[in-house]
Symmetry: C2
């Protein structure tokens, strides 16, 4: 059986999951603590998507831990397809929310009274972490998609 | 040889290409004619990406026409991989630009003096067409990616 590093049940996949959780959590922290993110739709959207990404990746990290401990490759094509589609949906939502937040920060920066630099930097950093979450989520999705044809 | 409808060299792929060109062109028209889009980074970004998507899809439409007329399936895995990656990059950029533009329109709408409804509707429609461009571009990319393992 072809083994694609980064596909479900491998240690690489586990690290991708943990990376996504840390990044999504960081993005949430910067976007929510001490700032009034709820004033802007794009920021509420970012908070929602990052709150979705954390439990999704936590669940799949447990699947990876189970497979790694029992030394069993993941061989269920249907579930793999569902995971791959789920990852792809999370990655699309993460990219859309990161882009929206980044462009709102860009507009806010042009008006310093409404967004002092310290606050705007936090928003910017949260958007950057969301971009990184997108990138890892997309990698997971493509690794699983690449493994799929060899399981069918 | 497996033939995936929508992959390079099929009539479905040709219609996807034409669809993307029409949508990207429409988005460009609404975003540029009679409005000062250059005031906002997100709108300049949208115009740039849509201007990139049109020649990319025009070139690939010609490849499709060539294959359809000569009744020859496209059997070059390396070029197919390059096209699939190119489609995916265009789709990611289209999604990011559409999301950015949409969130900027959302902010502008809250301040009617800076964006009268007629102008804001044009911006909104341009962002919507960009979202549709993203969707078609992603379909092309996934169809080609699905065909790839069977060519290797």
């Amino acid at each position: 059986m072809v083994e694609v590093p980064g596909s479900v049940g491998t240690t690489a996949s586990l690290s991708l999951r943990l990376g996504q959780m840390v990044l999504a959590f960081g993005s949430l922290l910067f976007m929510t603590i001490g700032v009034r993110f709820y004033q802007f739709t794009a920021f509420c959207y970012l908070v929602t998507i990052m709150s979705l990404a954390i439990p999704w990746n936590l669940t799949l990290a447990m699947v990876d831990i189970y497979c790694v401990i029992l030394q069993q490759p993941f061989q269920k094509p249907r579930i793999l397809l569902a995971i791959s589609i789920g990852d792809w949906v999370v990655s699309v939502l993460a990219l859309a929310s990161a882009s929206s937040a980044a462009s709102v920060v860009d507009i806010l920066r042009s008006n310093e009274s409404s967004c002092p630099p310290t606050i705007c930097n936090r928003y910017q950093f949260a958007a950057t972490l969301a971009f990184l979450t997108w990138f890892l989520s997309l990698s997971s999705s493509l690794f699983n998609l690449w493994l799929l044809p060899s399981l069918i």
